[in-house]
Symmetry: none
Subunit: 215 residues, 4 copies
Amino acid sequence: MPIPRFEKLDAESRATILDAARVEFAAHGYDGSSYNRIIANSGRSKSSFYYYFQGKQDLYVTVVKDAVAQFTEAVGQERPVEGIEEFWAECARMFLRFYEFGMNNPVLVGVLKSVFELQRQPLGGDLLPQLALKDVTWYETTIQRGQGLGAIRADYPIDLIVALLFAVLEAKMRWSLERWFSSEAIDIKQDVDFIIDLFRRMAAPADPETGKPRW
Amino acid sequence: MPIPRFEKLDAESRATILDAARVEFAAHGYDGSSYNRIIANSGRSKSSFYYYFQGKQDLYVTVVKDAVAQFTEAVGQERPVEGIEEFWAECARMFLRFYEFGMNNPVLVGVLKSVFELQRQPLGGDLLPQLALKDVTWYETTIQRGQGLGAIRADYPIDLIVALLFAVLEAKMRWSLERWFSSEAIDIKQDVDFIIDLFRRMAAPADPETGKPRW
Amino acid sequence: MPIPRFEKLDAESRATILDAARVEFAAHGYDGSSYNRIIANSGRSKSSFYYYFQGKQDLYVTVVKDAVAQFTEAVGQERPVEGIEEFWAECARMFLRFYEFGMNNPVLVGVLKSVFELQRQPLGGDLLPQLALKDVTWYETTIQRGQGLGAIRADYPIDLIVALLFAVLEAKMRWSLERWFSSEAIDIKQDVDFIIDLFRRMAAPADPETGKPRW
Amino acid sequence: MPIPRFEKLDAESRATILDAARVEFAAHGYDGSSYNRIIANSGRSKSSFYYYFQGKQDLYVTVVKDAVAQFTEAVGQERPVEGIEEFWAECARMFLRFYEFGMNNPVLVGVLKSVFELQRQPLGGDLLPQLALKDVTWYETTIQRGQGLGAIRADYPIDLIVALLFAVLEAKMRWSLERWFSSEAIDIKQDVDFIIDLFRRMAAPADPETGKPRW
DNA sequence: TATGAATGAGCATTCATTCAT
DNA sequence: TATGAATGAATGCTCATTCAT
């Protein structure tokens, strides 16, 4: 039950509302956010929020879906590649776009982060399905292509691999952002190389005899 | 700040109180938890909670410190080792103990998880220091020993390595627990091997020429 | 900070709310007053109070400003005078109006009294400035005019003189009100003469040689 | 119902308790003071307070009576005088002792101040009588002596005169203390002269014809 | 004599939501 | 279509006091 007549609203009003919501959700997560505060910060009437959204959950869902769409668009389409090295190079390019977009849109990163928080909560139960994260599968496609090329091990469930890679990615980004907010310079290119190398280490197929990662 | 005369209370009352608190904090995290709910669930009067704890923060700190202590005790002391293989074998043993304890005490895992959530929040500022996590450094010692043996790469900051390993560990445990709660059987030994292998892949020193992990 | 959309409310509702607040604040002072009690006595819901006021402080500020405005209006403008006797006569007229208004509105006197209490408290720090008492300066103007005419001594700081005169005024009014509440008859005219005479004694310039008040 | 077995306590314990209470009551007044806070600051058990005092009121009464006694002792006995000038000089001497004692014991001044606050409250009803302020009448004696000498007007009720003089005294002391706490130097002698002069102006008999104060 | 333990009532404030118009 | 008005339930916390030992 995402949006009723919110779409018909003029772009500026829509932006005003979503911006206030994004900032709040990014800063405090879903639970920690106050619908009242969002409303107050948006400068619009409380009733109008209930006119456009069913409530807090509905607004959150709207905000998250929009953020996911923006990230997806920023990453762009994966170009077909052939060798293992090429595969990782393409991953690096995609990831660089993701990374740059995130660095330029920290609020959207915060929104994504709030989703990760939610996934940790066993009781986010009725909210999570509405986010329709199952529909966001482009990375799974990429991983499967990697498996086909022999770049990514195929002896474990794909959702486990995804969970692990995301965890690492999130941790690294948080680590970098912390330093970014303390105004240390960040070498994005180097960061991306680091993560891709890490992904590769984690995902490389295991030599059936020695168990070592096959490079 | 942590505990006043709570220690003097008889063990049963103490357990009743801490159990109610643990369950609540594990399920909802610090912010999402309700002090009132904990009180109601414990069957005691509101005032008695303020007699034993300074407030919500104090109770949380008490619960967390207790959980950390239990995990630390469960893991036990690291035994001195010499070679790289031995080092990882010892890690596996320690980790197995950690893992088994966590599987048998999912609520305590939840408590630990709530701390991770808190660390993600930029505003948890005045609460985090009280948890005295800086005093929990045994794993840093282990990692440094690994670096000394050439088992763990030394070309990155240790806190980055810790953050990444923890992220992976947390993700894997969540993945396993989910399946555990759906009453799928879990082969703990296999899980531990998986994680240790993952750790080893992530942490292995890089060959200076090829950049590949050196096994 | 003071009032949001409270002004738009119909006069009757506004009066109901302010009356309940006035009575409470007059009877118990700011600290001793209970927002909950005001709400209960007004017959409205708790939330509606937070819809119209930011909180207890805000309501108090509203009540006080309103009371001060009513008193100021009751006192009216000072008419220009020339001689010393005329000056005191004009003071008596102004004061008579103040006095009569106060006698007819004891609750408003109580509100004013609560402000005096607050000024005594070193910790009323963040509340007092909101009352904007610095804007209420008509009496300082009058005193300065009196100094210009030689009716009021100019060898002491004006704020000291104000403090002393107010103290005397407050004490006399309390003394009279007490008797009033015990249904003794009060001769307002005589009271005013008494206070003006007292003011004149206190404020008369000192003869430089004898130190006696110069009449 | 002032004190049960509190008197039997050793002097040091008694002082510890009373000091904590004095500081609290002086700083926050009776209503604003927290019995819990006094107990916490005293370092003693909560139960012991209820063992020695019937409750908050009882402790307050004890503290006030003690303070009044200390002030009374500090002021000392009035020496018999004959002329008007001598009378005021003796007043000045007594008052100087009062003033000096107060300046050296600001906490006790605070306790006295809290009594004045209480007298302003119509609801302090059941507490005020316990303070037995009616027993403190030495100043009335002095005033009556002044009336006998023709130094103080006798055409108004004595309690009105007392109330007015106290009001002025309190206001002047507060004015001075404020500056004292801002570490401005205070000339006590000059202050006393100022107040005595003010008292004399206020209290001097009125010439039956002109109404002017007779010096 | 002395105190640790426990309590119910109250505090100001914020929450997401609904309703009447 | 749009919103001002109103609300019940909950939040964390402090209060003075009592009771059992």
